[in-house]
């Protein structure tokens, strides 16, 4: 199966082409084409995963297939390649699996929307790009697919292009990501400059022996700018909440489970570089940690169901980035995997809710648990998983990250880092539990809204929910400290570190999560504490949080005043100065002509005089040297 790995991204691409050119008018055919292709990819991925688990393919011994893509003799050789190791195998499985489920779900969710076929075409294109990214064997290729997933994200966020907000949001997403790509590109070029290759394995062979750590740090940080944007880390996170303008399945697939995780994947993939630049690693961890608490705090007070989930995603991504920054790609990737399942589940659940009530404001919902049993229960499972309640998936992966955080001091040789990251991680865990259960209490258990015609979604939507909730519950077991030959033995950097169970941390995280749930219950379930009163007491903080720390406003101001200001200045300069000089030159010549024509007075005696004067002048000019010599 591994030899067919190249087919994994190609199948959805074929589906895309077929839909665009052939079956746009036939909605169901388009959907089925998409799903069939995806199923094909899924099966191959599954095969790859089993082969990897069984066979000799390990992180140190990957399978690489490549073809020449672009070559400038003696200067650059860029491959189109496939690199299969446990890292990409896991990722392949996650992406194909969730994509498949989301597509099935979309059959129901998108029913009756205009552009139904197009939607599936875009989903296929996205899958192609994402899978291409996953299997890439070099930076250049990963960069290309990196941008392509951005494109798909752009297209899908703007799927409801008739909405102004959607068309603004997709523009914002793309441009913000461009900033990230800019950094990524610079970093990539630096790598090429230093080592002359883009290939991951070749780079892995040479980077550790490179001595200029300062330069490596710069390179690593530049490359990290890419993930900052793509994985919505502070300060380039602003696009992710707005991206929720897209259809909900898109949010589930792209903006929760897969694409936003690409940043994390890239960090894991290129870890050899980051590992060689310790300073960069610390900065990455700090940014990840900060983003995670930053986003979680905003999530506390949001009203829009998808936005809460979006900030949660951002927060969890920050978790993963932090984990990798702290040196454990195992923890990061593990959390990525489990998170993909339960966050996709949550988004699809949210989609199911929105499908039923046609609003996204949680305070306009309420009491849905009676009408939408499957949705409610799967949603709660997802939330528990996210909050990290034993023994759901999230518990194990979060535990792994907290464990890594606790070891940070040791890892970097700076003892203070351990407690800092541990406390940070625990705080996030607390907030996560709080806002998720705030959401649940308000949406599913609060008072029923009058005139609500909510009803359970069709099976085509609920079945994926159920499948995902199964994974949300059990997927954590592949990587518990008690699992033999588990996740840590597959995906690792350097040597596999089998985690030893740290009961202290397990207990602490559980307590913190339960505390969050309890507080949410107090405020929104039992109403023992008035939410309004809290909001009024901490009105400043509430306002800041609700307005997302005013980051958007700052950016808008910067764009309007600085970017457009410079642009206006340039335009002015172009019209008035550059053009002005050129036109002035032309006008000057014309004016000279217009003046000089009056030499021609029409009086012939003047003409004669001119001849005479000219003769005299010439004679004098000649006379000076000649007579001077006599």
């Amino acid at each position: 199966m591994i030899n067919l790995a190249w087919l994994v991204p190609v199948l959805p691409a074929i589906a895309f082409v077929i839909i665009i050119f052939l079956t746009r008018r036939l909605q169901m055919v388009s959907a089925l084409t998409s799903i069939l292709a995806m199923a094909g990819s899924f099966i191959i991925s599954l095969g790859i995963v089993f082969e990897v688990l069984a066979g000799p393919v390990t992180m140190d011994n990957p399978v690489e297939l490549s073809a020449r893509w672009l070559e400038v003799p003696g200067s650059v050789f860029i491959q189109a390649g496939v690199l299969i190791d446990p890292l990409s195998a896991v990722m392949l499985f996650v992406v194909t699996f969730i994509a498949l489920l989301v597509m099935i779900y979309s059959i129901g969710y998108m029913k009756g929307e205009p552009g139904y076929s197009t939607f599936f075409a875009y989903l296929s294109l996205f899958s192609c790009s994402m899978l291409g990214l996953v299997v890439s064997n070099n930076y250049f290729q990963i960069f290309m697919f990196w941008e392509l997933v951005g494109l798909c994200s752009y297209l899908l966020i703007g799927f409801y292009y008739h909405k102004d907000s959607a068309s603004q949001a997709n523009k914002k997403a793309f441009i913000t990501n461009r900033y990230g790509d800019f950094g990524f590109m610079l970093g990539m070029f630096f790598l090429f400059l230093l080592f002359g290759t883009f290939n991951f394995r070749e780079l892995a062979a040479v980077i550790p022996s490179y001595t200029n750590e300062a330069l490596l740090t710069v390179v690593a940080l530049l490359i990290f700018v890419g993930p900052i944007a793509k994985s919505a880390q502070f300060p380039l996170h602003v696009w992710l909440p707005d991206a929720m303008e897209g259809p909900t399945p898109v949010s589930a697939l792209i903006h929760a489970a897969t694409m936003v995780a690409a940043g994390v994947y890239l960090l894991a993939r290129g870890f050899v570089l980051f590992e060689s630049a310790t300073t960069a690693l610390i900065i990455i961890a700090l940014i990840g940690g900060f983003s995670s608490i930053f986003a979680a705090s905003i999530g506390l007070v949001q009203r829009d169901i998808k936005r809460i989930l979006a900030f949660s995603t951002m927060s969890q991504l920050g978790y993963m980035v932090m984990a990798i920054g702290l040196g454990s790609i195992t923890a990061g990737m593990f959390h990525l995997t489990t998170h993909a399942f339960f966050k996709a589940l949550l988004f699809l659940g949210a989609g199911s809710v929105i499908h039923a009530v046609h609003t996204q404001d949680i305070f306009e919902m309420g009491g849905l648990s009676k009408k939408m049993k499957v949705t409610t229960w799967t949603f709660i499972i997802g939330s528990l998983a996210l909050a990290g309640i034993f023994p759901l998936a999230g518990f194990w992966s979060k535990d792994e990250i907290l464990l890594t955080a606790a070891n940070a001091g040791e890892y970097f040789g700076i003892p203070i880092l351990g407690p800092i990251f541990l406390i940070l991680g625990l705080s996030v865990a607390f907030m996560t539990a709080f806002y998720m259960f705030r959401l649940i209490f308000v949406t599913f258990f609060g008072e029923e809204q009058p005139g609500s015609h909510a009803h359970e979604s069709p099976a085509v939507m609920t079945v994926p929910l159920i499948i995902l909730s199964v994974f949300a519950i059990f997927s954590g077991f592949i990587g518990t400290p008690f699992t033999p030959n588990g996740f840590a033995e597959w995906v690792y950097y350097g040597e596999p570190h089998h985690p030893h169970p740290n009961y202290g941390i397990m207990i602490m995280s559980t307590v913190v999560a339960l505390a969050g749930i309890w507080l949410a219950w107090l405020i929104y379930g039992k109403r023992a504490i008035s939410a309004e009163m809290l909001a009024n007491r901490f009105s400043t903080i509430h306002r800041i949080l609700y307005n997302k720390y005013y980051i958007d406003e700052i950016y808008l101001w910067l764009f309007d005043r600085v970017m457009l200001g410079i642009a206006d200045a340039c335009r002015w300069c172009d019209r008035k100065i550059v053009d002005g000089i050129a036109d002035g030159f032309g006008d000057g010549i014309r004016a000279m002509g217009a003046r000089m024509r009056f030499i021609q007075t029409g009086n012939m005696q003047n003409y004669a005089l001119v001849i005479f004067v000219a003769v005299v002048i010439i004679a004098l000019v000649l006379a000076v040297p000649v007579l001077g010599g006599i």
Partner: protein, 102 residues
Amino acid sequence: MITLNHYLILAAILFCIGFYGAIAKKNAVAVLMGIELMLNSVNINLVAFNRFLSPGEMTGQIFAIMVIVVAAAEVAVGLALVLNIYRQRLTTDVNDLDWLKW
């Protein structure tokens, strides 16, 4: 003793007088006369050169005769044109001949 230089200076003065007449006189006929003077100064030059430099040859004289003949033709045409313009505009003042300008 009158040398070549005297003749040359005479011719030069004559040329200048003629030129002055040509550019200062208002009457077109007078202007043409000024030009005649210029041509005559040339004739003096030619003849004087011939006399002083190569007295055996006739080149200068022939040249001068040619000039005289041609000058006559020129003036004939010129006067005709001046006459024509006088018929049209009832003036021969060259300052008024400036319809063509700029």
